[in-house]
């Protein structure tokens, strides 16, 4: 077997191991879905009654933001999972085995991606129940989900770097999470960014979260028919921005987390 095929096989073994945890601890999946469901209900019925978005029902506007926020918050799982494996000595065991060095990270990010797929399915059902609709074709919807998962995968590698840097589960639990609040709220996820004060508006427009959210709204058809699109580059080309951001994050954080993994494990 070639080295690459062997590495892929090792990654699969670790992925399977991580997935068994999701199966054995279904509470984990339930609780990681409860929070976004709560956000859907709170925003749709509490804030939504006061927020007016031109040209489209707020519940339709909201879901793209919720999807993106959910996978962004979900990425914190990667940090926690890796910190836990380090702390419990499982990574020592892995490192004493003749397996591919990449398998621990590939296995973790892959299983977290699959976890995200499950959560996104649950969120979609929840969205459909409150009145969200997919209004463009099937291909467009598939593209939207693919883009969302690409972004989730990239965020997972950011989180991996954090988890391997902080090393302790308790710290990873807050460090992997806390920065995501400003990042997701300083965006177009819950309110249109046009009405923000200038500085915040510019930040929000260039925020990767906004690019993903805007792409999802386009691809799902959750925008008003005659609503003018903002003039800035990220608003004009959200899909280019979303894909670009995701690839950029991967280009930075894949090598960075691999380096952190080596450093963390050889101490």
């Amino acid at each position: 077997m070639s080295a690459l095929a062997q590495a892929a096989a090792d990654g699969m073994v670790v992925t399977k191991r991580n997935l068994i945890k999701i199966k054995r601890l279904p509470d984990l999946l339930i609780f990681s879905s409860i929070q976004p469901i709560m956000f859907v209900l709170l925003f749709a019925y509490v804030f939504g009654s006061a927020i007016n978005v031109p040209g489209v029902d707020y519940k339709e506007f909201l879901m793209a933001g919720i999807f993106t926020q959910t996978v962004a918050f979900g990425s914190a799982l990667t940090a926690v999972g890796l910190a836990e494996d380090l702390q419990k000595g499982i990574i020592d065991r892995f490192r004493s085995l003749p397996m591919a060095r990449s398998a621990v990270l590939v296995g973790r990010t892959t299983s977290d991606l699959l976890n995200n797929v499950l959560v996104v399915v649950i969120m979609s059902v929840c969205g459909l129940l409150v009145g969200w609709r997919i209004r463009e074709g099937v291909l467009s919807a598939v593209a939207a989900y693919a883009l969302l998962l690409l972004f989730a995968f990239a965020m997972s590698w950011v989180s991996a770097t954090i988890g391997l840097t902080v090393r302790s589960v308790e710290v990873a639990q807050s460090a992997g999470f806390i920065w995501l609040f400003p990042v997701t709220f300083l965006s177009n996820a819950f309110v249109p960014s046009e009405r923000l004060p200038t500085v915040l508006r510019v930040i929000a427009e260039w925020n990767p979260i906004s690019a993903v959210v805007a792409s999802l709204r386009d691809l799902f058809g959750n925008v008003g028919p005659n609503v003018p699109v903002g003039g800035s580059f990220p608003q004009q080309y959200p899909i280019v921005m979303a894909v670009g951001w995701s690839l950029l994050l991967l280009a930075i954080f894949v090598p960075l987390s691999v380096r952190r993994y080596r450093a963390a494990a050889t101490r």
Partner: protein, 329 residues
């Protein structure tokens, strides 16, 4: 006989702390070496170097002729490691844990599965095989961790404090399992804080302190070095200490140590039961009130006291390498 494990001048520093400070070691093929020392002596650091988890700052080490740094990948195929903390996945069943390790040794699906079942049988875990490990007792987890280190039938096995944290029954069970492995001819390096454990399992013992080997020999040689068994005695009154010390000097094989505060005396002896009876007769004749008396085996403390002039717990000040990792070096 060829040496399977060789270390020459291994050093590893963590800031100001010298976890390894010029460690030299040799383990002959098919034998068991007990690496004996208190917490923080450098036992775990040494094992981490031998098992490719840690690069030494200087010095070199080979296992089965393979350099632990340059030939790490090849070395990992022929070693097994069972650490101080049972590194098994709690959410997986015992079978799934072993099967996973087999797959990662690239044994293939069928071999991994059958090997996992065989090991679970061998380690009396067959009944619990399909239960998640979180339901296991401490002893069961340790056995599973040990089984995981044996999946690929390694030529060389490293066990880092295999019985620390186990209750006496768990410890005895573990000893039997390890003794069984040793009969199979595996080369084994085992670290422990207990002289008794090294005595029971190891062909030879290396005592390690501050990252250096400070004594080597068989268990008997080390015990002779510290004077064999001890007679320990507690008397009722401080005034009787002198009389009791005279008596002990007569029956013992060395100078008695006197602890005035605890009214306790200790003397090395060469012939256990006979000396005890003789000493009690004499003390009775002298009219010394004896509160407590007994013979005990030398402990790691005694070995340390004899070798370094200080007790093992006094140097138990391991700063856990500035709190990193799991605080074991």
């Amino acid at each position: 006989m060829a040496s399977t494990i060789v270390a020459e001048g291994l050093s590893k520093r963590y800031g100001e702390i010298r976890a390894l400070d010029g460690l030299d070691l040799e383990v002959a093929e098919g034998t068991v070496l007990g690496l004996l020392g208190p917490n923080g002596a450098g036992k775990t650091t040494a094992v981490r170097v031998f098992t490719t988890l840690l690069r030494p700052d200087s010095g070199r080490a080979t296992v089965a002729g393979l350099d632990v740094v340059r030939e790490a990948a090849a070395l990992r195929r022929i070693i097994g490691l069972s650490g101080q903390y049972a590194a098994v996945d709690e959410n997986l069943t015992g079978f799934e844990n072993l099967d996973m390790v087999g797959r990662l040794y690239h044994l293939g699906r069928r071999t991994s599965r059958s090997r996992a079942r065989d090991l679970l049988d061998q380690f009396a875990l067959a009944e619990a095989a399909d239960r998640p490990v979180k339901t296991y007792s401490g002893g069961m987890r340790r056995r599973l961790d040990l089984a995981a280190s044996l999946v690929a039938e390694p030529q060389v096995l490293f066990l880092d404090e295999p019985t620390t944290g186990l209750d006496p029954r768990g410890r005895l069970g573990m000893w039997e399992v390890i003794a069984g492995l040793v009969r199979g001819g595996t080369t084994l390096l085992l670290t422990t804080q207990y002289l008794e454990e090294a005595d029971r399992l190891a062909d030879s013992i290396a005592v390690i302190d501050h990252g250096k080997v400070i004594a080597r020999g068989t268990a008997d040689e080390l015990k002779t070095q510290v004077g064999g068994d001890r007679l320990e005695l507690a008397v009722g009154h401080v005034d009787e200490l002198a009389k009791a010390a005279d008596t002990l000097r007569a029956v013992g094989s060395g100078e008695p140590a006197v602890d005035e505060g605890a009214r306790r005396l200790t003397v090395p002896i060469s012939d256990g039961a006979g000396v005890l009876v003789g000493a009690l007769r004499r003390l009775d004749a002298e009219g010394v009130e004896v509160l407590d008396v007994g013979i005990r085996r030398p402990t790691l403390d005694d070995v340390f006291l004899a070798l370094t002039g200080r007790a093992a717990e006094e140097i138990d000040d391991e700063p856990a390498a500035a709190g990193r990792g799991r605080g074991t070096r």
